[in-house]
């Protein structure tokens, strides 16, 4: 194992060294620890309420088989029972009495058989409870929260792209008095996160009469120093001749921005769009402060309110957590390259 391949990414291509084994072991542990919990959430979200209450929990969404037996109102749970003579039979349990269970043969429900509890094992079947997903969307307001989240994410991202690209255009293409002041002013807002101006932003939103409106969530974060910075860096690399040529052709400054500069800035706009979607979809503290009526909850706030209720309905909660996670997961799967490049270039997320 050469030193170079031990410390850099170049492949040595020799036998496995103990450091290789250690590396793969570390990474395998990482996969279990980082991805396992998400997988567990996904599997659990398909379990029925009864299966979720089982302890210890089963890995896959399984539940005990049940059978309707004539003469009994509710379906009875099925067990595989070892009889005294050593044979096994499939019996349905009527009730438990002390250390014994009263069971019946589904084919012959007239006769009650007494079985010791430790002689029976539950019969299991895989059962996906898709109702975990459909019920909360119908019974509770999750469909509304989903719509609110989509509205906030889409509208906020469009506004963010528009106003930040306009500012970046001004700051990259033109030389004008006050340019540096504007740059410093915009960059300095990086130092003022929402956590320290929570109350006064709430006041400004109240002034506009927007409390409990989705616009209260959309507007405050629309102008972002990260966005201006990212787009400006990209626009600075555009060839100036194009712009001069357009000006010769009597294009207005607005046309130069909208028809020439913006289309050329698409890669940077895509990165900002992905960031903005992530920020907006996941935003929590500010919506929590400004949205107090449940009609205007976003998914994050709705989910938090739902989990805070006294009787946590885990089956619905887990499914809705998956729904909340899904769009970001799709963004990640398809656009990971852009996200990684964006973070490496700007050092923000």
């Amino acid at each position: 194992m050469s030193l170079r391949s031990a410390l850099t990414l170049r492949r040595g291509g020799h036998r496995l060294h103990w450091t290789d084994v250690a590396s793969y072991a570390y990474l395998a542990l990482g996969v279990v620890l980082m991805f396992g919990p998400v997988l567990w959430l996904g599997l659990s979200s398909f379990k029925t309420q009864a299966a979720l209450l089982e302890f210890p929990p089963s890995l896959l969404p399984t539940s005990q088989k049940q059978v309707s037996v004539p003469g009994f109102d509710t379906p009875l749970p099925l067990f595989s029972v070892t009889m005294d003579d050593g044979s096994t039979r499939v019996l349905a349990q009527v009730r438990r009495v002390g250390l014994q269970a009263q069971m019946v043969d589904p084919a012959d429900p007239g006769k009650t058989i007494r079985v010791a509890l430790d002689k029976r094992t539950p019969l299991r079947e895989t059962a996906f409870a898709f109702s975990n997903y459909t019920e909360p969307l119908r019974q509770f307001d999750f469909l509304l929260y989903l719509k609110n989240s989509l509205f906030v994410t889409i509208v906020a991202t469009l506004i963010t792209l528009l106003i930040n690209s306009m500012a970046a255009y001004a700051l990259s293409i033109y030389q004008f008095p006050g340019r540096n002041v504007a740059m410093v002013g915009i960059i300095s807002t990086l130092m003022i996160p929402i956590t320290i101006i929570l109350v006064p932003v709430y006041l400004v939103i109240t002034w506009f009469g927007l409390v409990n409106s989705l616009w209260a969530v959309i507007l405050p974060g629309a102008a972002t120093p990260t966005g201006v910075f990212l787009l400006r860096q990209y626009m600075l690399t555009l060839p100036r001749d194009l712009i001069e040529a357009a000006r010769m052709d009597k294009a207005s400054e607005w046309q130069i921005y909208a028809r020439i500069v913006l289309p050329l800035t698409l890669p940077a706009l895509a990165v900002l769009a992905i960031f903005s979607v992530m920020w907006r979809w996941n935003e929590f503290l500010w919506p929590l402060a400004v949205l107090s009526k449940s009609q205007s909850y976003t998914l994050q706030i709705g989910l938090n309110a739902f989990q805070g209720e006294l009787q946590t309905q885990w089956n619905y909660l887990l499914a809705m957590t998956v729904v909340t996670m899904l769009p970001i997961t799709l963004v990640f799967v398809f656009l990971q390259r852009f996200i990684v490049a964006g973070i490496a270039n700007t050092g923000v997320k």
């Binding site: 793969y24 109350v199 006064p200 490496a344």
Partner: protein
């Protein structure tokens, strides 16, 4: 067929082009009015208005609020009380003992946040460094492993907290593992130490991928011939790590540490959803104190919340200055 395709292409409405044309009329008029050279101000205007309304004006109001009392939201109805709010915040027998303070929750928040930040940042930077070093080795499937570590970064704090709440609950996966190994069930969130442990664990889990990515980018920027030269001199790998890799990675480490500190001081979301600040006030952070003082309590004490915000702001300001100083030093060398 071909013709109709072509026809559709020419007549298909392009909303962007239409919007551009629509907006071109007023923008052209503005340009004629103020001249081409003043147009950048027009392009800058929307952003400046947003920053003014939602950052700079609020920052000013925040200072003003911290010198006023009462429970009214509008500044004109709030009486000036001077330094009273700050007086309340710092009215302490000893700042080391929150229960001796008038605003004991604020100081609990300060203590919890300080402990949280020190432990979380240390461990997270350490794990990120190890992970980045491992990912920088000649391993197969690096893109996959990098993605696995990075994925939780994108999840919302609510989702992160719920994933772990589900695993850590009384009858959850972890307790199943513990009982299988012969242990007793632990109810984690009624024990202050366990609650803090999991708050730190979960926030490391959620954020370390981000810092790993930055450190990995730094590692990949280290020129390979340095290692070649070291190898020719017969340098051992460990020595190369200590003498080449870590010194050259140091600037990135500083960035990562300061960024993690700035984020850590503002910790709220995951911990709030995971523990609610409890049990009692065991995991209550400063930002939760600010949020609850302003919005969740009956009193709606905006003045006190603003004063606490300003104190937090000063801490963040100092951290940011430290970052800028380090950046300048790095750029100079």
């Amino acid at each position: 067929m071909r013709q109709s395709d072509a026809a559709r292409r020419t007549t298909r409405p392009d909303p962007w082009a239409a919007a551009v044309r629509l907006l071109d009329l007023p923008m052209r008029a503005v340009q004629r009015l103020i001249g081409e050279r003043r147009m950048p101000y027009v392009f800058l205007l929307p952003n400046v208005v947003f920053f003014a309304l939602f950052v700079f004006v609020p920052l000013g109001i925040s200072f003003w609020f911290s010198f006023t009392g009462g429970s009214a939201l509008f500044p004109s109805q709030r009486p000036y009380v001077g330094l009273q709010q700050y007086g309340y915040l710092f009215d302490c027998g000893s700042v080391l003992d929150p229960s001796s303070c008038r605003e004991d929750h604020f100081w609990r928040g300060v203590h919890n946040t300080a402990f949280f930040v020190v432990v979380q940042v240390t461990l997270m930077v350490l794990f990120s460094l190890v992970t980045a070093l491992v990912l920088n080795r000649p391993i197969r499937g690096r893109a996959f492993f990098r993605a696995v570590y990075f994925f939780p970064v994108l999840l919302s704090p609510v989702v992160v907290a719920l994933i772990w709440k589900w695993i850590l609950q009384r009858d959850g996966l972890l307790n199943a593992a513990i009982t299988t190994l012969g242990g007793q069930k632990i109810i984690f969130f009624i024990d202050p130490s366990w609650a803090m442990f999991w708050a730190i664990f979960v926030s490391i889990w959620a954020h370390m991928g981000f810092y790993t990515l930055i450190l990995l980018a730094g590692l990949q920027a280290i020129p390979g011939d340095l290692y070649e030269a070291a190898e020719m001199d017969g340098t051992r790998p460990l020595r190369a790590l200590l003498r080449i890799t870590l010194p050259l990675l140091w600037p990135n480490m500083i960035v990562v540490i300061v960024l993690a500190l700035i984020r850590g001081v503002q910790t709220f979301d995951e911990v709030f959803v995971l523990t609610g600040g409890g049990p009692g006030t065991a995991t209550l952070m400063i930002v939760q104190y600010i949020y609850e003082t302003a919005f969740a309590n009956q009193s709606q004490n905006f003045g006190l919340a603003s004063a606490a915000s300003i104190v937090l702001g000063v801490v963040l300001f100092v951290l940011t200055l430290a970052q800028l100083a380090f950046n300048r030093k790095r750029d100079a060398t």
